[in-house]
């Protein structure tokens, strides 16, 4: 090992040799370039490294100039970059590509000091290094970033990145766009974002996040409604993963994506709604098939049995009696078929257009039709229906429904008291509800509830009961998209609630 003073002395004395060695042995390419005022570039000095750098043979070396290796475009630009150097600048740097016989395309960077002489020659003293690997890394990073950026833009997915220590969140422009805010990346607090979550979805969202924080789920996934700037909610599906935890396992950073799934959610809801309609139609169809089979077969059964009897009957009077029964059965069958036809008409409701109807107008019309029965039975009528209360319904159905409920209330009034009927209109869950309440006999719903709206079901010892009215009424209401509910207590009275659909 050299003593320090000796080394310094040696350096000083062998100055020339030292620099020569430095310049020739160093693996970097050391150069002197010279540009003439006419734009000719020459290389008065290149160290030996040039052989390796540009893959030169001895032959190449003799007439070598840089333009032989440097990509033509880059060489032209290299020249102009030197030419356009400011008078006061003494530093030059330039990146260029060269095509080498075996290594192919390589990237190089030249840095140099600039000197100018009186003849306007520019001399550059410096070195060239191979920056291909660096450049490739840059390019790969750029490509990957671009790929990510384009993918995000094309898929309209947003990206977020939460620093769980500072609670700052990066939101990408797409995330912002989803919520109809300025389309640019921002950093915001987590809290401000959470305020936009629909209150009904907050709990599930917090649960899902916590499960992932507690490491119970491999990643976080949650669909929730979020308030947009226009005041409407959008369904946003977020997925994320904690990418960094401290030594105790506490999360430090979580990255994820946002997807607007409003369309899917709407489709999902539409499919569910359709399914519900189909199920309702199916059960109605099944019910109808049941009604048809039962009500028709009870009549045809009678025909069969009566005809069997008539075949073997000798007594004339008995034969006549059987004929009377056949006639009765025949007209009963006719009536049943009429009812079934009516039912089919109601259920093919496409035919029946809804109209906007003034409820007061129709109620007064029906009460007018029934005025005789009302006064004969001393019925008290109470109406609490706001003026201009319009509902979307079929006019003849509305009349038939009001007529049916009113006649039922009179027919099944309590013998010990003055019959009272209350008509009122309310709003429940945004739907118009017509309530018709009486103080009549009432129905034991525990016993009869399930059959109340069935065909040919009667519950009172009343000669005029046919058991068709409520059945038809229910079908008419349902065909208009509404539904019906009943509350009743024996000897107290009955309340029917008719829920109207808002859709016209």
């Amino acid at each position: 090992m050299l003593q320090k003073p000796y080394a310094e002395k040696k350096l000083n004395s062998d100055n020339g040799i030292f620099y020569k060695k430095l310049v020739t042995k160093i693996p970097d390419l050391i150069f002197q370039l010279s540009l003439s005022p006419t734009g000719d570039l020459s290389s008065p000095f290149l160290n030996k490294a040039v052989i390796n750098y540009f893959e030169l043979s001895r032959q190449d070396l003799r007439n070598f100039d840089l333009s032989q290796r440097i990509v033509a475009d880059d060489f032209q630009e290299l020249l102009s970059s030197i030419q356009s150097l400011d008078k006061n600048t003494d530093f030059w740097s330039y990146e260029f590509r060269a095509i080498l016989p075996t290594k192919g395309l390589r990237w190089f960077k030249a840095v140099a000091n600039v000197e100018r002489d009186v003849y306007n020659y520019i001399s550059l003293y410096g070195r060239i290094s191979d920056i291909t690997e660096e450049k490739q890394r840059d390019i790969e990073l750029k490509i990957s970033e671009e790929r990510f950026q384009f993918a995000m833009e094309a898929s309209a997915n947003g990206v977020w990145d939460v620093d769980m220590v500072t609670d700052k969140v990066f939101y990408s422009a797409q995330s912002m766009k989803m919520l109809e805010m300025d389309e640019q990346d921002i950093v915001d607090t987590h809290l401000k974002w959470d305020e936009r979550i629909h209150p009904d979805d907050l709990e599930e969202y917090q649960t899902q996040i916590q499960l992932h924080i507690d490491n119970k789920t491999p990643y976080y996934e949650n669909a929730k409604r979020m308030l947009t700037n226009s005041g409407e909610y959008k369904w946003i599906l977020s997925r994320g993963k904690i990418v960094e935890r401290d030594e105790k396992g506490n999360p430090l950073r979580i990255i994820g994506t946002d997807i607007d799934v409003t369309k899917q959610k709407e489709n999902e809801a539409a499919v569910l709604k359709n399914l519900q309609i189909i199920n309702e139609q199916n059960s109605r169809l099944l019910n109808f098939a049941h009604i048809v089979s039962h009500n028709l077969s009870s009549h045809t059964g009678n025909f069969k049995m009566l005809l069997d009897l008539i075949e073997t009957e000798d007594d004339k009077e008995t034969v006549l009696e059987i004929f009377e029964h056949l006639k009765t059965s025949s007209s009963a069958l006719n009536q049943t078929i009429e009812h079934l036809k009516e039912l089919v008409d109601i259920n093919t409701h496409m035919v029946h257009k809804k109209e906007s109807l003034d409820l007061n107008l129709y109620l007064n019309k029906v009460l007018g039709i029934l005025s005789e029965e009302i006064s004969n039975n001393k019925v008290k009528i109470y109406k609490q229906i706001p003026k201009n209360c319009n509902i979307a319904f079929n006019p003849s159905y509305l009349e038939s429904i009001l007529l049916n409920f009113t006649t039922n209330a009179i027919k099944y009034s309590h013998p010990d008291r003055t019959p009272e009927i209350y008509y009122s209109m309310k709003k429940e869950d945004g739907k118009c509800v017509l309530e018709i309440k009486d103080n009549g006999l009432g129905i034991d719903l525990e016993k009869h509830g399930r059959k109340l709206f069935g065909m040919y079901k009667t519950f009172h010892k009343n000669k005029n009961s046919r058991g068709i009215g409520l059945f038809i009424t229910k079908n008419q209401i349902e065909s208009m998209g509404g539904n019906i509910e009943v509350e009743s207590k024996t000897n107290i009275g009955t309340t029917f609630k008719i829920f109207f659909s808002n859709e016209v």
Binding site: S298, N302, L306, T318, F459
Partner: protein, 133 residues
């Protein structure tokens, strides 16, 4: 033993007539009592009990009836059953070939002997009345 006291519970008066004729034509010497709904039939059984009489031997029961239908009759009957002096044989006679009604009849195995589909034939009636010959 022979069925002497028979209840027919059906709201169809034509069916009452048919049963009467079928019994007569097949030389089955029974005069059934007819009830137009389940409630009247229950009341009929109760009034027999009140008078200290034996319950009917046989009940032909329809399903679809006003006020109390066949099923509701069976529910009321279950309550009465244990207080009866003797067993009553019940057949359902209905025009319903609906599977759900058939299944429901199975839930009343302790009460219901069998399920006959209308139209009833002379053969059906002979089978019922030959039991337990």
């Amino acid at each position: 033993m022979k069925f002497n006291d028979v209840f027919v519970v059906d709201d169809d008066k034509i069916f009452h007539f048919i049963i009467k004729k079928l019994l007569l034509n097949n030389n089955i010497n029974v005069t059934p009592k007819f009830f137009e709904n389940g409630l009247l039939a229950i009341e009929g059984i109760k009034s027999k009990m009140d008078r200290g009489e034996n319950p009917p031997d046989l009940i032909l029961l329809d399903i679809n009836m006003p006020i109390l239908d066949g099923w509701q009759f069976l529910e009321e009957f279950k309550i009465l059953k244990d207080k009866l002096a003797k067993e009553i044989i019940i057949y359902i006679v209905s025009s319903s070939d609906n599977q759900s009604d058939m299944n429901k009849a199975n839930e009343y195995q302790d009460e219901v002997k069998d399920y006959y589909l209308k139209p009833m034939t002379a053969e059906d009636l002979r089978t019922i009345f030959s039991y337990p010959a």
